[in-house]
Symmetry: C2
Subunit: 198 residues, 2 copies
DNA sequence: AACTGAAGCGGAGCGCTGTTCCGTTTAGTA
DNA sequence: TACTAAACGGAACAGCGCTCCGCTTCAGTT
């Protein structure tokens, strides 16, 4: 990929050095705050942590989605890039899909409130939602197609619906032993599955 | 059931007539506002619609969850009571479960933002969450058990997990043609299903 | 019917958010 | 060093939840 194309992120398009420094400072602070207070943490808190004014954050990241996107960009990329690799290394396309979904779920559940924000605060996080889709949807589609191709799963499932469903299942308070998203996702995949002899 | 036991609701425990009248006025106003602005509508808006002060609402419904619970109480009850009936009238326990889930989903998706609130704003809506569980979990468990009993579905699925999963799948902007919760829920049930010959 | 205590009421007020605006500071250039 | 435009900080405004308190109205009593 190029150093940057969608939403503003790389250190490229900026003249002054202090601005770039501040950008990094804010990113680091946001990453820390997100861990403890979730992606809905008050801007003031992030600004304080970074030692900058609020306007500085808004200047670099006009919407909250831009900030969140920038913070998690690398991990989303990694997830996207893992798709093809898994397809090559796994025993079967279905296995690759399973492992990839596992990665995706890992990412979501370790980010306090990310899944919630993605679907519940749809409007405010529209840009983030779009970025997720841009990067991950094609990967999911590729895995899905491959699994259909070899007859592992039934055709007809839309990648968008599947991804959003998985995302939705990851919503909710963490650490509730009575609710384990992976169990339901496994059930979903089970429903997708079609024995070779059918 | 008794006229009231959990959170304050019936017109019983109040001496003054105007208080009871206001309670009903607020309930009606809230119901209307919820339709257009969702269950997260500003209290001020509901108060304005009802022609009362905000404190009146807080006095009758200390938490937002209490208000939402009161507004939807009848429908939740209806859903709960439908369970046993379906079990008696449907072709099979699995069919009963399917139809009941359909009712539940109907209820959720027609209430703008209800599913979102239930899981995302878990803390603020804790009381509502609890009420849902109290009334619907036993019903779901009964249907699930019956279906397992006759061998329609595999054992081991926890009612809580299933209900919450279904609720989660119903989260999100309505009217997105690319995402239809029922399709995924059907997939989930498919995964639960066990052919008679297994 | 008039009286009265308390139940009930309304909305101003506080605290916490997001977001903007503008006077001030600072980096880069000449 | 002087200058200019980019970048900055935080005060300020708006919208929200929730509470507090002085005022109103009901219901029972005489």
């Amino acid at each position: 990929m190029t150093t940057d194309s969608p939403a503003g992120q790389s250190p490229s398009r900026s003249k002054r050095a202090d601005a770039q420094r501040n950008r990094q400072t804010v990113l680091a602070a946001a990453a820390e705050v997100f861990v403890t207070s979730g992606v809905d943490a008050p801007i003031r808190q992030i600004a304080a942590r970074a030692g900058v004014g609020m306007a500085t954050i808004y200047r670099h990241f006009p919407t909250r989605a831009d900030l969140v996107t920038a913070v998690y960009r690398h991990q989303i990329e990694a997830c996207a890039e893992a798709g093809p690799n898994l397809l090559a290394s796994a025993d079967s396309p279905l296995d690759a899909l399973r492992q990839w979904i596992d990665l995706f779920v890992d990412f979501l559940v370790t980010k306090h409130g990310l899944a919630d924000a993605l679907q519940s605060d749809h409007d405010r996080f529209a840009a983030l939602h779009a970025y997720f889709l841009d990067r991950l949807l094609p990967v999911c589609a590729q895995l899905l197609d491959a699994a259909v191709e070899v007859g592992d799963i039934r055709p007809g499932t839309q990648p968008y619906e599947l991804m959003r469903g998985i995302g939705n299942l990851c919503i909710g308070r963490d650490n509730d032993p009575r609710y384990e998203p992976r169990r339901l996702i496994a059930l979903l995949l089970q429903g997708l599955h079609r024995p070779h002899s059918a």
